[in-house]
């Protein structure tokens, strides 16, 4: 297992290099130069100094090498638009907020979605199952800005006397609940569906019949034999989801006025703040790579067959 983990971690390095390269390449495809944007045009001597300072006079692979060095030494360069601010500052200020929001949303999705899926599967074709799945399916179709708006309307406006939730902002726990629920709702329904489906499939397996034939208590049959196998698909799906929740919370951040990185990312694109765009892109890619790494390790833990295949 340790060998498997080491191998798997080692594999992420070329992947990260590739991601940096692709981001770098894409940014280079954008015509022009940030210092020549009309209203902030500089004279030629200044331009040359700037070119030298940012290695723009060097061939692309040298620039790439500098950038890779920057990434690995956690120095993503200055913001091109905001004076006196580094990309690092931007990330330091806004990323923790998104990380927390995404993490809380994931927690919501897992803690609510998985039990709902389990209950629905164990009570298959009963009223309870139908009720759970009706809510889940209806919820699945609703976009999260709509859910965010409804939540704000209900909890922060209509029942404002009875609930502690504000309409927007980011501070104590009461400001986290509504955004996390709004963001976590879609993945929650996703988990409920996927867990229900895989539970039903697992319950039909021969080894479950064996477990029953051994006289194990139903609690153990479900809690160990069924659950362990039915959580595998959920775990596999969780990685991209977690990445998506941390990186894709732009809309929810916007609706709730949360100073997260998603919002800042979009701003950087419209402001042509290339170094910020690149920095955030790479950060978010790394999160997704890391989430996948985590899932592979978890997967190896849950499904021993994969360990042998890959080591």
């Amino acid at each position: 297992m340790l060998k498997f983990i080491i191998r798997r971690v080692a594999w992420t390095i070329p992947v990260i290099l590739l991601v940096i390269f692709m981001t770098f390449l894409m940014m280079r495809q954008i015509k022009g130069n940030p210092f020549q944007v009309t209203e902030r045009a500089v004279n030629e001597a200044t331009q040359r100094t700037l070119d030298r300072k940012f290695h723009l006079d060097q061939p692309w692979y040298i620039q790439y090498a500098y950038y890779v060095k920057g990434v690995f030494t956690a120095n993503l360069g200055p913001s091109l638009v905001q004076r006196d601010r580094d990309v690092n500052d931007v990330i330091k200020d806004h990323f923790p907020v998104s990380l927390k929001l995404g993490g809380l949303a994931m927690l919501w999705a897992v803690l609510v979605g998985i039990p709902l899926g389990i209950i629905a599967a164990l009570k298959q074709n009963t009223k309870l199952d139908y009720a759970v799945m009706a809510v889940v399916n209806a919820g699945y179709a609703l976009p999260n800005f709509l859910i965010a708006t409804v939540l704000i309307y209900l909890f922060a406006v209509k029942w404002r006397e009875h609930t502690p939730f504000p309409t927007n902002g980011w501070g104590g726990w009461e400001t986290w609940v509504l955004p996390a629920a709004a963001l976590g709702h879609a993945p929650m329904t996703f988990f409920a569906r996927i867990v229900r489906g895989s539970m039903l499939e697992t319950l039909q397996q021969d080894y479950i019949r064996t477990a029953k034939a051994k006289g194990l208590r139903w609690r153990r049959v479900v809690g160990l034999h069924v659950l362990r196998n039915s959580l595998i698909p959920a775990v596999t799906a969780a990685a991209p989801l977690l990445g998506f929740l941390i990186t894709g919370s732009f809309i929810v951040e916007f609706v709730f006025g949360i100073p997260g990185i998603g919002r800042y990312f979009v701003n950087s694109v419209t402001a042509r703040d290339y170094s910020v765009t690149m920095g955030i892109t790479i950060l978010l890619s790394m999160i997704i790579i890391f989430a996948n790494l985590l899932v592979d390790i978890l997967y190896g833990y849950l499904d021993p067959r994969t360990r042998d295949v890959r080591t």
Binding site: Q204, Q205, D206, Y207, R209, T210, A211, K212, A213, K214, G215, L216, R217, W218, R220, L224, H225, R228, N229, I232, L302, D303, P304, R305, D308
Partner: protein, 334 residues
């Protein structure tokens, strides 16, 4: 008192198309330490019969009638938790496909010890020690080292040995084996069968063995039941059944077997005999074998259901045209 006394067992599946009578009035009894073979074509209800005894029939199936009295208790009437105490403890069971019968995500050790801990109240160390002994008993080499392996590291034959080890781990009085060798490589089938017989005599277990392969039961079973379309059509001691089969279906099954040279015993697989078993949703009204029977004539076969009757002591048959009452040649040959 018999070890297991099954009486008029009925298990029906409620499907959209109607009621499938998978087991339709099966009765038999098994004495202590005896071996009973159940044979018959695919779909005749062999598995559902034993699953009904174990309380393992899946929805939409349900035991709708009859009883299965095991050591004085009717398993059909037992509550879920009481039945759980019997399963794996007093009755062990192994299944057809060892490749899918073990949980792929748990070690062999876990799957062995959980039964011991559940039924015998052993602690972790005791259970592990016993598990190693059990693996040795089913002839797994390097048992101690292989305890922490996952099933995918075991071959099919070894997995079936593990299944057997689990089934016998609590010293059950009854072992049910549902086609234990069908899914195995031919080269390892004999080994697994030998192991079953070895353990059976050591542990003095009663055994019910289901098979397609007459050769499996010919030499070793004490009694044999032939099933057809959810019913028992013939029941006798193995010797009498192979020597003097009475039911036309049994005859056809035995005739379809290749004769092994130099041996008196018939061996081999059940070949398909002409025609197909009836649809259990809508079986023939009287004799279920009549449409395929070479002797079914203009008489009662299509109108009066034949009873299972004792044609001679210990030999039961459900047919109006058993061999020993037959003078004429088959209808078709006339």
């Amino acid at each position: 008192m018999a070890l297991l006394e099954v009486e008029d067992l009925r298990t029906y599946f409620k499907t959209r198309e109607g009621e499938v009578r998978a087991v339709d009035g099966v009765s038999f009894s098994l004495e202590h330490s005896k071996m009973l073979g159940i044979v018959g074509e695919s779909g005749c209800g062999k598995s559902v019969t034993v699953l009904s005894i174990m309380g393992l029939v899946q929805t939409p199936g349900r035991v709708v009638g009859g009883s299965a009295v095991f050591q004085g208790r009717d398993l059909v009437q037992l509550k879920g938790r009481e039945l759980e105490d019997v399963r794996g403890h007093e009755i062990g069971m192994i299944f057809q496909d060892p490749m899918t019968s073990l949980n792929p995500t748990l070690t062999i050790g876990t799957q062995l010890t959980e039964t011991l801990r559940r039924h015998l109240g052993m602690n972790k160390d005791q259970a592990r020690k016993r598990a190693v002994e059990l693996l040795e008993e089913v002839h797994i080499p390097n048992a101690a080292r292989r305890l922490d392996d996952y099933p995918h590291r075991y071959s099919g034959g070894m997995r079936q040995r593990v299944m057997i080890a689990i089934a016998i781990s609590c010293n059950p009085k009854l072992l049910i084996a549902d086609e234990p060798t069908t899914a195995l490589d031919v080269t390892v089938q004999a080994g697994v069968l030998d192991l079953l017989h070895e353990l059976r005599s050591i542990h003095e277990m009663g055994v019910i063995i289901i098979t397609h392969d007459m050769g499996v039961v010919a030499e070793t079973a004490d009694d044999i039941i032939v099933m057809y379309a959810g019913q028992i059509v013939e029941q006798a001691t193995a010797l009498d059944l192979f020597d003097r089969p009475e039911h036309p279906y049994t005859e056809a099954l035995l005739e379809a077997l290749p004769q092994v040279e130099g041996e008196g015993i018939r061996e081999g697989r059940l070949r398909s005999i002409s025609g197909r078993p009836p649809d259990l949703l809508d079986p023939p009204p009287a004799c279920r074998f009549a449409p395929r029977c070479a002797y079914a004539g203009q008489d009662d076969c299509a109108t009066v259901p034949p009873d299972l009757r004792e044609i001679r002591p210990g030999h039961w048959v459900r047919s109006s045209h058993p061999t020993s009452e037959r003078a004429a040649a088959p209808v078709g040959a006339r």
